[in-house]
Symmetry: C2
Subunit: 341 residues, 2 copies
């Protein structure tokens, strides 16, 4: 790959100067006393030869590679991974960096391998990403250099980037309150494991907290809370069927994520009820499916692209150490209406 490229020595020779001079000019070094004419000749020579520096050689000397490692537990299983990566990719490009991507699959052996692979390549920093927002333990080996946690926190006090799930919870609840819903709001997606174990999820607890906060402020309490063992459509479906079997039908439902909401839609459809006339639905994530549903599902969007971008910025530009919370914007869609009289 890229065999016969011009080297710095070639450029220097063509410019009639030393490698030192050529290097200094091309790197725009301040305080050098090279003449304007020398600058000209070096730039011209580099241009003519199509010179591009050999980064392996450079990084051997400087210990910089302009490369960032993006180490994640699982990239494939969630569709959001792409957005996280895309945001990171964009920010990296703007700073002339490139992303080395590895995956640990939550397996200690793979993780070990991934860490060694990136350290061997002398990356300038590591973005350690989790696909579900959670707390995790960072392998000590990477602590020798800059690390940013993406969609995760740890007890190491490392800089981290998280979605603002708490505020999203308040947003969801307030949106319903503003429409006039009060004592007939139900919640689908309670889950002890997700709420209590930060190594499993931080989102569940934060969303729930935000929801309760907002409802509490308005002096409203939930009509019902449905527990779900997973946050998949089938569980949302079952939960909604359960709700419809009760004496009081809810006027609105908050689902802990869009997949649950999808299941809820299915149950409502089968029961012959329509969204939002009979029941309003609001949710979290902004999975693509939210826009595809009929009517479109209102939801607070996980700002994955923003988060990926922020992680790179924190890594390269430095900055705050307290967790960086990225807002989750509300996507208003047709699933919202005032309660039926």
């Amino acid at each position: 790959m890229g065999s016969n490229r011009a080297t710095l020595a070639d450029v220097a020779r063509r410019a009639g100067l030393s490698k030192t001079a050529a290097s200094m000019v091309l790197n725009g070094r301040e305080g050098t006393r090279l003449s304007a004419e020398a600058h000209q000749r070096v730039f011209a020579a580099a241009e003519e030869l199509g010179y591009r520096p050999n980064l392996a050689a450079r990084s051997l000397r400087t210990r910089k590679t302009a490369t960032i490692a993006f180490v994640s537990d699982i990239v494939a299983t969630t569709r959001f991974a792409g957005d996280l990566i895309r945001g990171a990719l964009d920010a990296a490009r703007e700073r002339d960096h490139v992303l080395l991507i590895t995956e640990t699959q939550g397996d200690a052996t793979f993780e070990q391998y991934a860490i060694e692979a990136v350290l061997d390549r002398q990356v300038d920093g590591v973005i350690y990403a989790a696909m579900a927002t959670r707390r995790l333990t960072v392998p000590p080996a990477i602590l020798g250099g800059p690390v940013v946690l993406l969609n995760a926190t740890s007890s190491d006090g490392l800089p981290s980037v998280l979605p603002d799930d708490d505020r999203a919870g308040r947003t969801a609840a307030n949106t319903l309150l503003e429409l006039g819903h009060r004592d007939a709001i139900a919640l689908i997606g309670r889950n002890r494991l997700k709420e209590d174990d930060p190594e499993v999820s931080l989102a569940a607890r934060a969303r729930l907290h935000g929801i309760r906060q907002a409802l509490g402020d308005a002096d409203v309490s939930l009509l019902a809370e449905c527990f779900c063992t997973e946050w998949l459509p089938e569980h949302g479906y079952a939960a909604m069927r359960g709700l419809l079997g009760r004496s009081t039908r809810p006027s609105a439902v908050i689902c802990m994520n869009d997949r649950l909401a999808f299941g809820a839609y299915q149950a409502l459809g089968e029961a012959g009820l329509t969204v939002p006339e009979d029941i309003s639905v609001i949710s979290f994530d902004d999975d693509p499916i939210a826009a595809w549903l009929r009517p479109g599902l209102a939801t607070t969007a996980l700002p994955h692209e923003q988060m990926g971008r922020r992680a790179v910025e924190l890594l390269l530009d430095g900055g705050v150490t307290e967790p960086s919370l990225v807002p989750m914007p509300l996507r208003r869609r047709k699933s919202l209406a005032p309660p039926a009289q």
Copy 2:
């Protein structure tokens, strides 16, 4: 990052041997006449010091980086990208390689940048991936080294990896025929642009061809073909409504992808028809939503993980030059039944 690592010189010193000897032993060079004892000492020293070679230094000399570039047009917009990358990542790890990921976003400037970035880093090869199966033109700059096209072909005769859409089309049609459907099969998702311009899509034409082939072999012709400007749920919805407005209701529908099928489901639900009792549905892609629909949607799966893996294998292990077609397995789900009597 990784500052005070032991160098080869450290290992050699500790083993009481030269750098040459240490290098040869650690690289397992054949034909060297170093004693068994020398081998022992080098291995022991390396182990004790936790020696890991500096890959920048190595690749400066060898021009190998154990790094593959994964250059794609768009990684984020389709959820399948993750699977493509995961497959490539796995295969790369098995061969002790790592993936450098860049994205061109279909923009010439970004592409130029991406190409330079990877060539500067002396990657051992390039996987050039498209997110929609199509024909594309490879930038000449990367032709200096090994290149594999992933989910794409070109006119350069480069090795390429594609899903076997033609066979998937036959599979879909044959599956319906075997259930007893004959003259009331409709097709949703015809699209001149996708069918006629290989730079837009190869899948549409191939799937259509496979479907026609299978039906033709059984001497069956399609009841109806619905054209859709895009392959999104809303278009599937509209198409299905159109079909239901006709005099003869289809007994089965083939949708060109799962998102169209999702829209079709919505229209069927609103019309009070049930899948599969009233109408069978079969489709392509195996989008996660196929499994979430009620009833589950039968579909032929895009083997993205397999394809990513195959691309790395072709790149590193060499091999065939004719396009490598990866089979699309049928996922049988509840959306299939014999036609109503």
